[in-house]
């Protein structure tokens, strides 16, 4: 009998700091050596005791040995996470999933809302030679966050942070995809990376594919286990938690489901 290590079991962490990003988005910081070092695109399963366990991208933290989640309050579970106080406990397991493959040269990051979480980690992993443009979108000025963080992370790179709001209250007016289209007129990118609402990602991938530009998107699906057992995250023949969450443009172009359908908790396909 050997007493083995246990994998895929939550470790309890204590919330040490809470940062209000917008009126509906907060970043919860906690100590975790493993999660502080995950690759861009990787996620954790986050147990909110008594409520639920949700997949969350692991957010960059400025302090060594710390990790964070940036959560938008939406339904019951994300709101419960959002409402946690300093000193409260959460359980975390992971990291899970693959990660972005960062190309040399000029790269473009296109994100919206909490989709920026894996993109900022990607920015942190950028090579010194990378020129990085981050395109961040939100509905209004109030909902824009991470602009300063992005500039800070990319301080040593040639970079640009472009913001845009749907109502024009901050940065450029319009959708990120509009701005991206304009950008792509005169710039050739070596790699494009996106995370955010699937309809947005769908357009980003289409545009990149149409220009034969390497593109990767980090997808969200209903995730119960996070480790390729339960099947709830399946998309075509892929399990997003295990084969993804990052998929490239070639693969996504062939998908029957990407941009069109996702599954409910019972596994029924539902249109976006």
């Amino acid at each position: 009998m050997d007493l083995q290590e246990i994998s895929n079991r939550s470790s309890i962490r204590v919330i040490e700091k809470i940062i209000d990003e917008t009126p509906t988005v907060r970043t919860l910081v906690f100590s975790d050596d493993t999660l502080s070092n995950v690759l861009p695109g990787q996620f954790a399963m986050v147990w909110i005791p008594g409520v639920n366990e949700l997949p969350m991208s692991v957010m960059v933290s400025e302090e060594k040995g710390k990790a964070a989640f940036t959560v938008r309050k939406r339904g019951v579970s994300s709101t419960a996470l959002y409402d946690l106080q300093v000193g409260n406990q959460i359980g975390v397991r992971g990291p899970y999933g693959n990660s972005f493959r960062i190309k040399d040269g000029k790269i473009l990051l296109v994100g919206g809302g909490t989709g920026l979480v894996p993109l900022l980690r990607l920015a942190k992993f950028a090579k010194p030679t990378n020129e990085v443009i981050i395109l961040m979108g939100s509905k209004t000025k109030e909902e824009m966050f991470f602009e300063d963080m992005a500039n800070k992370i990319l301080a040593k790179n040639k970079h640009q942070v472009i913001t845009c709001t749907e109502d024009g209250s901050y940065g450029k007016k319009g959708f990120v995809t509009d701005v991206m289209e304009a950008l792509m007129q005169d710039t050739k990118f070596d790699g494009i990376y996106t995370c955010g609402p699937e309809i947005m990602m769908y357009k980003v991938v289409q545009m990149a594919n149409s220009k034969n530009t390497f593109v990767e998107a980090s997808l969200e699906r209903m995730m119960k286990c996070g480790i390729g057992i339960c099947g709830s995250c399946c998309m075509d023949e892929s399990l997003v938690c295990h084969d993804g969450t990052v998929f490239d443009g070639q693969f996504l172009a062939k998908s029957q489901e990407f941009g069109h359908t996702h599954r409910t908790k019972s596994g029924i396909l539902e249109n976006y």
């Binding site: 007493l3 083995q4 246990i6 994998s7 895929n8 079991r9 939550s10 309890i12 399963m45 147990w47 005791p49 008594g50 409520v51 639920n52 366990e53 949700l54 406990q89 359980g91 397991r93 119960k224 286990c225 480790i227 390729g228 057992i229 339960c230 099947g231 709830s232 399946c234 075509d236 023949e237 399990l239 295990h242 599954r263 409910t264 908790k265 019972s266 596994g267 029924i268």
Partner: protein
Amino acid sequence: MSPDLSTKIGTLRLERPTMLASGILGISLEVFSRIHKSGAGAVVTKSLSKEPWEGYPNPTIVGIKGGYLNAVGLSNPGAPYFAKMISPNKTIPIIVSLVGSIEEDFEFMVKQFENVHVMAYELNLSCPHVEKVGLEVGDDPNLVTKIVKKVKSMTKVPIISKVGLGTTNYLDTVKAAMDGGTDAITAINTIRAMGIDVETQRPLLSNKIGGLSGPAIKPVAVRCVYEISSKYDIPVIGCGGVSTWEDAVEFILAGASAVQIGSAIGDGWIDVFSEVNKGIANYMEQKGFSKIQEMVGLARNF
């Protein structure tokens, strides 16, 4: 000549002796196809109910020493939706798992598959963490006989009854299923179990109690296969903790004609099928077996 990995479970013939266990990854035709290609001789679907079920809130699956605890709560899109989804299938050996509490549930569900190519039905009489279906059914031998008889009367494809450790002797459930005309037995389902997190002092699963799977339960599952095949003349499919070819051979020597694999996918991914198949083939070559059948139940000779 390399050994023949095909196996027979009564009238059911599989190209390879490893199958995907019910509830694991089994909700889309594309995924079934991938798992079949990766070496599984058959795939068993999630247990389907009459209507779609969301299942329990998370956490529904947690890792523990020696395996997993799960209380997914039989989330599934329902038999009607599922039947439609797999109806284009012609080539993948799909075994449809069904769960319900009365004969009529099963009658309704089997009807959905009337014009769908189904290799066999597996009746889940042993889910340990959902009330009124699963083990509560398996613990009632009369009901088991009635359900099996009903399904048997509606279809020509083989019926497999999946048993587990409930509150009555599972051997009585096996007998009841045989009385109803079952063609084979799958043993076993997860074992009712729980874990508690000492930091938060809370049960690990939202449903508190769930089922234990993985290597931890293998010795119990092997025992059940051995007992069933020693006591009754019925083909058995072994299930519980298979993650290596040795595990698979152990089940076969105990009396199983094939094995199902679930939890091991969480560690070794679906490559586990081809690895186990290859290991079995090597073993057969080394030991001079040409067919799986020759090995079935050999441990009973001692």
